[in-house]
Every structure is written in C-alpha cells, then in structure tokens.
C-alpha cells in the first residue's frame, strides 16, 4: 500500500510540472507589453522597469520559467500589487475558507447523492424513485449562482432563518455555530448539481450491480435484503461511483467561485475574480497553481481510496 501511494505521488510530479508550464504559457499570452497591461498606460518608466524586473521579463522565457518555478518551490509566489502582501499568505488564508465551503459541499453531495441513488435504485419505479429523479433533474439544471440567489431570497430575506452572506457575523459570532449558520446555504447551493450527477450515476450503478450473479448468490445464502443492497450491492457500485466523486470534486471546486461571489464568502475564488478585475496577475497565477496542485493531490487520494476498495487493482 505504502509503495502504491509513493508510486502515485511520483507520477503526480510530471502532472504538477505540466500545470506550472500551462499556467506559465497562458500568462505569457498577455497581449502587448505586460507591464503596461498591469499598470495601465499612465505608468511611469520606473514602475515599468520595476515590474519587468520583478517578473523577470528582461530574461528569456525558458529561464524565466525556471526562476519562477524555483521561487515557487521555495514558497515564494511573488507579491500581490493590489494587496501589497506575499501572494502565498493571501492564497493560504483564502484557501482555508474555500476548503471549508467546498469540503462541506463535497461531503454533502457525496453522501446525499449516493444515498438518493441507492434509495432510487432500491425502489425503482416507486414513488421515492420518481420524486428523486424529478428533483435531480431540476437540481442539475439550475445554475448554482441562480440557486444561491433564490435561496438568499427565500431563507434569508423572507423566512429570516439564515444570514444573507459572509462567513461570520460582523458583530460577535466567530464561533462554530455562527460559521455553520453561514455555511448552510452556500454549501447546499454549491452541492446541488454534483448531488444530482452523483445520484443519477449511483442509481444506474446500483441497478447494474443488482442484476449481477453475485447478488443472487447473496440472496441464495439468505443474506437479509437490507444487507444485500447496502452491503453487497453498494460496495460493488462504489467501484464505479468513486472515480466520479473525484471528478465532481473538481466541479464543486469550480462552482465555489460563483458561490463565493453570491454569498460574499472570503475564499480563493472571489480572490481570483477580484485579482483579474484589478489585473493583479501574480495573485491569479499563484492562486491557480496552488489550487490546481491541491486538486491533483486530492485525486491521488481518490485513487488510493479506490485501490483500498477494489482488491483487483494492482497496488
């Protein structure tokens, strides 16, 4: 097992390098003179020169890449112009908030999605199945940002059950219940689409598995039906569900950008959008590389989970 994890970690190195190359290439797409693009056309020559030196733009591209990479490996992602602080500090702080939001949503969509799929399959064509199928259809068609806005209208403005936005109350608060009450709406809005996708997939995976011979064997042994469905069938279905959970995690992370905007959540996504609008490119670059790297690591964890679940995968 340890060997397998190590192998997967090593195989991630070229992917991580690839990510830095891609981000680097995209950033060199900036039309015209990057220094002017960043500072605007009224920049003083000193500032232009300073930027060029900071970004290493006076050196050849390959050299620039390696300098940038070397700095990042030492934890130096550059300095944010608009915030006037090291990029890495800002990103780490914001990523924490994103992790709370996206992590909660991921857990929600995994649990709700798989459960809905299992119930739907176990009660195929029944009332529960029809209700779930209908809800799922709505869920995967509503844009998360629109859903978030409608939730604010209903639960925060009309019913006044939950706070409108933010991560903590401005006065007082700051404790866990405060965080949870702020987290409920954005986490639900963010998980809606993924829940639908996972529920659909879990339903069909369960239906596929329930027709297998080994399910008949389990029944022939006299295993109680609840255990047949929640044990034998679900275990086998998880083999095809888990990779999709990994993919959906990427979509949850993506969707968090919109949700962070709608709910004023102080996360990386909102930071990136603000950085783009203020042309703070080093912040964009650092944020993108950092989050992408985290996602790659997360996917390795998914692979490891998969190999724990399925003994047929050679470890």
């Amino acid at each position: 097992m340890g060997g397998y994890i190590l192998k997967r970690l090593i195989s991630a190195v070229p992917v991580l390098l690839g990510i830095t190359i891609i981000v680097f290439l995209i950033m060199s797409l900036i039309p015209g003179d990057p220094a002017t693009a960043i500072l605007g056309s009224y920049a003083t020559p000193e500032n232009v020169e300073k930027i060029n030196r900071d970004l290493g733009l006076d050196k050849p591209m390959v050299q620039r890449y390696f300098i940038w990479l070397g700095n990042m490996l030492q934890g130096d992602f550059g300095r944010s112009y608009s915030l006037n602080r090291p990029v890495i500090n800002e990103v780490l702080e914001r990523f924490n908030a994103t992790l709370i939001l996206a992590g909660t949503s991921f857990v929600l969509c995994s649990v709700m999605g798989v459960l809905a799929g299992v119930v739907s399959a176990a009660r195929q064509y029944g009332l529960a199945d029809k209700a779930i199928t209908f809800t799922v259809l709505i869920g995967i068609s509503v844009p998360s940002f629109f859903l978030g806005m409608m939730m604010i209208l209903l639960f925060a403005v009309n019913l006044k059950w939950l706070p409108v936005s933010g991560m903590y109350a401005i006065y007082g608060g700051g404790d866990l219940p405060d965080l949870v009450s702020h987290l409920i709406m954005p986490a639900l809005a963010l998980s809606a689409v993924a829940t639908g996708v996972i529920a659909r997939l879990s339903r069909s995976a369960m239906l596929e598995v329930l027709r297998q011979d080994y399910i008949r064997t389990a029944r022939a042994k006299g295993v109680p039906e609840r255990r047949v469905v929640m044990g034998h069938a679900l275990r086998a279905a998880m083999v095809s569900i888990i990779p999709v959970l990994g993919i959906q995690a990427g979509f949850v992370l993506s969707g968090s950008v919109y949700i962070e905007i709608v709910f004023q959540w102080p996360g990386v996504g909102r930071m990136l959008v603000d950085a783009i609008l203020t042309r703070d490119l080093l912040l964009v670059q650092g944020g993108v590389v950092f989050v992408a790297a985290c996602y790659v690591i997360f996917n390795i964890m998914v692979d490891v989970a998969q190999s724990l679940l399925d003994p047929r995968i050679k470890t």
């Binding site: 690839g18 039309p31 629109f146 369960m206 027709r211 029944r219 006299g222 993108v288 996917n299």
Partner: protein, 628 residues
C-alpha cells in the same frame, strides 16, 4: 434516422425538452424583427418597474431598460456564444484527437499527455487564467470556455479514431496511395462526424452555462451589452429589493439548460439499446407470484416441486419457461435434471427459493413444498430463513457468482451468520473447517484470498463450501462442474457423493452432461421446452430411453473408447417458449412425429417411478423395445 426520432419522441420528457428548446430558438431568431424596445435605452425614471406594468411586460431593470427586450437579446447572445464556443471546441478538439489517434505512437503520446495535464485542472481555474491573461470581455470568455472544453473533445475523438485507424478501409486507402491528409478528410472524418455531433450536443448546454457564469462574474460581456449571465450579475445588487430582475434571466438559463438536458438524456437513452428491452430493471428480493388455479396438496417428500409454472413477462409477451413441472426428492437422494440450454431447468431450480429475477419472472402456478410447507408466495422472511440454511444453491461459474470485492472467508462467514448468531471468530473457524471439508489446501491462508486470486476449481469448491455452511437438507446444484476441466470435475463429484452418503443430503443436480448424471444421480428427469418429457431411475433411462428426445440426446454423446460411430445431432432448435404449439413441443424436430403428436395435451404417463410424455415411445416402460 426517422426510427431514431420516433424512438426519441416517444420519450415524453425528451419531446418536451425539444419543444421548449425549439420555441426558445425560434423566438430568439425572430428577436431582431419583433416589435421590442431598444434593450440598451435607459430611462432612469422608469427603473425597477414591476412585471406586467404599462409598456413593460417583464418590467424594467436598475437603469429602466425593458427587461423583456433585454432578456430576448441576452438569450440570443448567450445561445450564440455557447454554440460558437461549442463549435470552436469541437473543431480544434476533434482535429487534435484525429491527429493523435490516426498517427499514434509518439505524436499520440505527447498530445495525450498534454490533454491529461489540461484535464488535471478544475475547469474554472483554466478559464480564469485565460481571462486573466486576455482581459475580461465576451470574446475572451468565449475563447476561455472553448479552450477549456478542447481536451474533452480531443480525448473522446481520439478514442474513436484509434478504433477506426486500425480498420481495413484505412489500410486500403493507404495502399491506394492516398496521402495522410486525404485519408483523414475523406475516410476518417465522415466516420467520426456523428460522434463529434453527439459530443457537441451533450456539451453545448454546459458551455452556455459556463459563458453565462463568466459573464455573471463580470468577466464576460461588458456593459451595456448583456447576455443572460451579466444580466443576472447586474441584478444581484438589487436582489433583495427587486428580485424580479434576477428571477427573469435566471429562469431563462434554467429553462435552456433543462430542455437541453432533457433532450440529451432522451438522445442517450435512444442510443443505448440496453434500455430499450427494459433489461435494466432491478430484480426484487423474491420472485413475484401471480398464481391462478388450485394449489396442489401437500406430500411427505422433503422437497416437492408441484406443477410449477414460471413465466417471463416482457412487454406484451409471455415466455413460459417452466410449464407445469413436478419433481421431488427424499433425504439422501440425488435427482438429476437434464436438458439443453433454455429447457427451463435452471429456472425451475431458481423458482424453488424465489430467486428467479423479477421483473420479468413471475411464478404463475403450482407449489414448492419444503417439508410440506408451501414456499411459493411465502413471506420474504420465511423464504430468507430457509435460503442457504435448509435449501442451498451451488451455481455455475463461480467467478461471477462470488462477490469480487469480499474475501472468500468473509463470504463464507456471512452465509453462517445470516442464520446463526455466532461471533466473527467462531464463524471464521467454521469457514476454515468448511474449506478443509471441500479439500482446499492451506485453508488458513486461502480464507483471506479474494475470488480473483483463486483458480476456477478452487472457486467452485468455495461455492460448494458456502452451500454446505449451514448443513442444509437440500442442495440445488445448477451445472456446478460445467466450467471445470475433467479432473477437477471428478473430484467435485466425488465430494458431493461423500456428502450425500455422510450427511443424508438431498441433491437436485442440474446438468446437460449425461456422464455426470450416470455417476451421481439415482433418478433422472429430462426437460424439454419447460416440461418434463421423461423420468425414471438413472440406469433405466440411460439404457432404454423412452422419449425420442432422450434417445436423440444420448445418441449425441460421444463415447470414450466406443470406436467411431455416427454422432447424430438433433436437427433444428428448441422452440421459443412464448408461443408453444399444441401437442408435443419436440414434434417439429422428431422424425417419428405423426399428426396426433401435434394435437391436444400429451400427459406424462407411466408406472411407479418411470414416466414419459410421448404417444409413440421408443420402449414400453418395462424396458422392452417396442415392436413396430
């Protein structure tokens, strides 16, 4: 194509999706000629008019602009951008995929590595990076969305191309001296095009949503021009005071995405032939029972199958897989059931414990009595307590009948613990003992194997051990040795023989192999088209078969050391059991058939244990040849 559309629109949801989408597209195409107000004309005095107010059907936004007009123009823009992004992504992605798939080798390797890298990103990071570099704007958002979706097309199309590139017509084109570009354009592209179009139709809704999202963030279309996303983005600041400005564009996005989803699901279902037959139904925990007619009286046999009728109801057709079968076993007895594939022998066996997959299986008549108690229609819990405890099964092909993800020890222990409250430790010890009983070497270490780590013979023994776990009274073995080679087969048969002698186990042994039957079974029943056509003590039936079908079956078996002789295959195929002709089901294949054979019901008749369902049997049942 027409058949496909018919199939598609039979799906009511898909038809509704198509209808809504067509309506939206039509309205949007007509927008420039409709009598609408200027979408960008501001009138701050009229700001935030409610829907249905004078002159503004949907009201006005924060600058007093007509929402209906903005909505239609916005939808037009959103759809156009989404479709354009889809076209660009499809073109570039497919080109990359075709090149990678066609040339293969190192080119393929390098390209696909790059595609994998791009797919390692959560899509929005890539899109944000591109927009950051190019600057906000609708055109740049379009480029970003298209770029993000290129890898998806590249990977899909490459897969299809790799399959096609190895086919003969590509080789032929190459031999005919065509250049690479000509082969790609004239031979490959036409074959890949349908896949590209399907991939596009499934992603276009997604791309509309993504561009709307970027605009919502303020990174796409810039004021005063508005697509649906930026309308929603601008309305957000007035969400609480004037919700209608948000609801209008939001609902439109929802409608578009929903109708595209419905249509896409319909297309997928119409293309997936598995769904047409309804084969993806979940089998219930017990077979459905829908008994007509009387329930037969109880007997004192250990297990008695009485006039059992099991059907498969698929759509309007009914396949009578088992048409009134009566069988019984006493303790220590072995009954062989023999017949060709599709004769109904497995369905008979599975009906005993209600294990016939249902839907479509239905037990339509008769009874199954274990120690006199009728199990057909018994409550689930009664049946479950008997399953594996009193009546156990051994199935064919243990690779698919053992759970691939559980260790065999756990599967064995579970068989015991489903019926007895014992500790995991005790169950494990018992499982090791069982593996030893079926002569698996090193049971202490084998118990922690997964099924795929064992050989076929070994797995079959595990299957047998599982059936023995609770020392059942009856074992139903459904072709347990068919998948094994002869030496293993012989070992397993002798194992079953010993168990029968030592434990007084009754066995129903289902097979199509006369050799196996001769070794193991006391009595024999021959099945054809869901009915028993002959039964009797094994030796009698084998030495002097009475039914022409039995005789022909035995004649098909090559005899070892018997010298060369004519092996008489039976002409024709067994009948399909949804529309059986009256009379003898074997008549169409029988060379002795006469007019009387094709009329009325022919009963199973005989004395004592010997019986045959034939008007002109080969022997009278005392074993003498019938003189003709």
């Amino acid at each position: 194509m027409i058949a496909f559309l018919k199939l598609l629109f039979r799906n009511r949801l898909a038809a509704a999706g198509a209808l809504v989408l067509t309506a939206i597209v039509l309205v949007v195409l007509l927008t420039p000629v409709l009598p609408l107000q200027n979408p960008d004309a501001t009138a701050t005095a009229d700001r935030f008019q409610k829907p249905f107010s004078q002159g503004h059907l949907l009201g006005t936004d924060h600058l007093g602009r007509d929402l209906l007009s903005r909505l239609l123009h916005g939808t037009r823009l959103s759809l156009a951008v989404g479709v354009a992004a889809a076209l660009i992504a499809a073109t570039i992605g497919s080109a990359i995929g075709i090149v990678a798939g066609y040339f293969g080798g190192r080119i393929d390797n390098v390209i696909m590595r790059g595609v994998d890298m791009l797919m390692a990103f959560p899509y929005i990071l890539l899109a944000l990076a591109i927009v950051a570099a190019l600057g906000p704007g609708l055109m740049n958002a379009l480029i970003a969305v298209a770029a993000v979706n290129v890898p998806f097309f590249a990977r899909n199309i490459r897969g299809v191309t790799v399959g096609l590139a190895g086919r003969e017509f590509i080789d032929a084109a190459r031999l005919a001296g065509m250049g690479h570009s000509r082969i790609i354009l004239t031979e490959l592209l036409p074959n890949v095009l349908p896949v590209i179009i399907i991939a596009m139709s499934t992603t276009v809704g997604w791309m509309i949503l993504e561009t709307a999202g970027l605009s919502f963030l303020g990174l796409g279309s810039q004021p005063p021009q508005a697509d649906l996303g930026s309308m929603l983005g601008e309305a957000r600041s007035a969400l609480i005071s004037h919700p209608h400005t948000s609801v209008v564009p939001g609902l439109m996005i929802f409608l578009i995405v929903m109708s595209i989803n419905l249509l896409g699901d319909g297309v997928r279902d119409a293309l997936d032939p598995r769904l047409k037959s309804g084969a993806l139904s979940r089998p219930r925990a017990t077979t459905l029972v829908d008994r007509k007619g009387d329930i037969p009286e109880r007997t004192d046999d250990l297990l008695a199958i009485q006039e059992l009728e099991t059907e498969f109801r698929v759509g309007r057709r009914t396949y009578r897989a088992v048409g009134g079968v009566t069988l019984s076993v006493r303790p220590g007895e072995c009954l062989g059931v023999i017949g060709e594939s599709g004769s109904g022998k497995s369905v008979t066996a599975l009906s005993v414990m209600g294990l016939v997959a249902s839907p479509p299986g239905v037990i339509a008549g008769g009874a199954v009595r274990f120690q006199g108690e009728d199990l057909v229609g018994a409550p689930y819990e009664t049946l479950r307590q008997k399953r594996g405890d009193r009546v156990a099964y051994i199935f064919q092909d243990p690779l698919s009948t053992l759970h691939p993800l559980y260790r065999v020890g756990r599967q064995l222990a579970e068989a015991i613990q489903s019926h007895h409250r014992i500790s995991d430790r005790q169950a494990r010890d018992r499982a090791i003992g069982l593996l030893r009983d079926v002569r698996i070497p090193n049971p202490e270490s084998r118990i922690d194997n997964y099924p795929h780590e064992m050989s076929g013979g070994m797995r079959q023994r595990v299957g047998i051990a599982m059936a023995l776990a609770n020392e059942p009274d009856v074992i139903i073995a459904d072709e347990p040795t068919t998948a094994l080679d002869v030496t293993v087969q012989a070992q397993i048969l002798s194992l079953l023989q010993d168990l029968r002698r030592d434990r007084g186990l009754a066995i129903i042994f289902i097979t199509h192999d006369f050799g196996v039957v001769g070794q193991l079974c006391d009595r024999l029943a021959v099945m054809y088209a869901g009915r028993i056509v002959e039964e009797g003590p094994t030796d009698d039936v084998l030495e002097s078969p009475a039914h022409p079908y039995t005789a022909r079956l035995i004649a098909c078996v090559p005899e070892l050391g018997g010298g060369r002789r004519e092996l008489a295959a039976i002409p024709g195929l067994p009948p399909v059991v949804d529309d059986l002709p009256p009379g003898c089901a074997f008549a169409p294949r029988c060379d002795k058939a006469q007019a009387a054979c094709r009329q009325g019901v022919i009963p199973l008749e005989g004395q004592d244990t010997r019986a045959v369902r034939c008007l002109y049997p080969e022997t009278d049942l005392s074993g003498k040849e019938v003189a003709r």
